[in-house]
Amino acid sequence: MTEDGCLVGEFFFSGNEACTEGAISAGCRFFGGYPITPSTEIAERMSERLPEVGGAFIQMEDEIASMAAILGASWGGVKAMTATSGPGFSLMMENIGLGLMTETPCVVVNMQRAGPSTGLPTLTGQGDMMQARWGSHGCYGIIALSPDSPQELFDLTVKAFNLSETYRLPVLVMSEAAVGHMYEKVVIPPPGEIEVVHRRKPTVPPEKYLPFKPDADLVPPMANAGEGYHFHVTGLTHDERGYPASSVEVQDKLVRRLVDKVYKNADKIIEVEEDRVDDAEVVVCAYGISARVSRIAIEHARDMGIRAGLLRLITVWPFPEARVRDIARQVKAFIVPEINYGQIALEVERCAGGAARTILVPHMGGGVHNPETILDVIRQAVR
């Protein structure tokens, strides 16, 4: 452990533990949450770790309050996070919208379980992927990441904080029970080797500060409460001063920017992993645990002489539209295994635009695809 309380070294960690340590290493110093399987271990570990690093932990009365609390903490000048699962994620939606509208940096971890409703609390799922994109009302850009191992839960939690501070919005870590509850080796590098980004501060004096006037990258510099700027923040449609403005012109200017700050920076945000896509005739497009088990199917397919490849979505939102469009011109089919009955497959199909077939391989919540099932679909696709 370093002097400031960050862990360094090799650990045999669950995904939930790795996620917690990723947050600590990224500088998270506030956690507000509510117990819910399968994310609870994150709150438990945070309650021990945050006091060790000078941070604050609070168990709120519900997930609505948890989400509100991390927004308040972020404006208080502290990097903040919550973690939840399906039912809690649904309750957080309104305040995720407030975070988007008020451009509040924070991280929301969703350890997905099988739904709808209470569903299968202890068992895995990927059914909240579209909710992550569109779950709060209105139009906005969003960032969501999907890790496939405890190590990547550490890495992507750090990345989620960096993206949230860079682009000023809630960033979603859309993990799954399967990864959160899996133990594996996790390597935590020394603090100097972990890139940590902090929000851009205003460079003008308070009387000249316009809290919602963006820089060239469409992101406004952010003052924290208590720094003497005396700014106003509202979930109402607002102008660059932060003042409510009931006009369609202001609405267009603001909301278009909230969408564009994600899409126009998409090249900098999006991260995918490609494995043998260059010569592929069929590409499996997957994320999280589904991408992990898909590798076995791809290996077997290659052994059989089928040119299969993998496009793993590390960033699920914004969706890597351009890359899928490119690959569509080269392949016969995309195969999309996911633990739901078709969500990301719809995006793949949209971007493929008829140039290649999209074949969904659905799996019920509660379990993970057998690689054989994915292999069978790969074989049918090239027949």
Partner: protein, 278 residues
Amino acid sequence: MKAMTGPKEHPLDIYLRAERLPHIWCPGCGIGIILNSFFRGLMESKLDLDKVVMVSGIGCTGRAAGYVNLDSFHTTHGRAIPFATGMKLANPELKVVVFSGDGDLFAIGGNHFIHAARRNIDMTVICVNNFNYGMTGGQLGSTTPLGARTTTSRTGSIEQPMNIPYLAAASGAVYVARWTAAHVGKLERTITEALLKKGFSLVEVISPCPTYYGRMNKQAAGLEQMRYYRDNSVIKHGIDPKHAAIEYQGEIIVGKFVDIERPYLPYPQDREWQINLR
């Protein structure tokens, strides 16, 4: 040197975002009077204005945050208190004031109120209670007196209303007071006390809503409601707030009901304290 002709500066100007005026509140509404008392109470408290934050929810009173020249946050309906809780715990040197309405704080946000009071979070909550939902057109609220007419209880409410000071005291608030918009001087002094109180303080202020509640209940002018408050308020400091329930057109018990000490959050120097515990 200042010009001698223009309008004289008002001592409360520094607290207002003058460029945002005129405000949205109706003629005869009590929120402006209460906000004025808040400013005077804040001035008297001598708190550093750079460190005072106002958080509000949604509704007529929720708009107050938009007019105050402080760091101010207009959040979602009912969620001002948990937002403020996160901010206070993240940065204990801030003085966090929640300024919102009865519907926001006690109907949709009721559970958050209970838990913030139970935890004794160091914040001040000022609740403007006008007995109905003004912003959406005068509907029944959790504070609407039994028998009072609203746009969703046309023949009179059949529900028992909430007794706010009683709930606050039972939940663990260390400072609980109630005044009406007709008690500006007393309200100012109470607000100063509440702001300087360590722990969770609640100030309920009964306010006219002539446009809806008043019109539906034979007090169509704000002045009539103010007169009713003046004639029917009874000051009973220290009374058990269970006896402070409000009945339709009945007397209104006002005063300071609770002023006690107990450990609060964030605990002073809590970081060192927590580390020392280990």
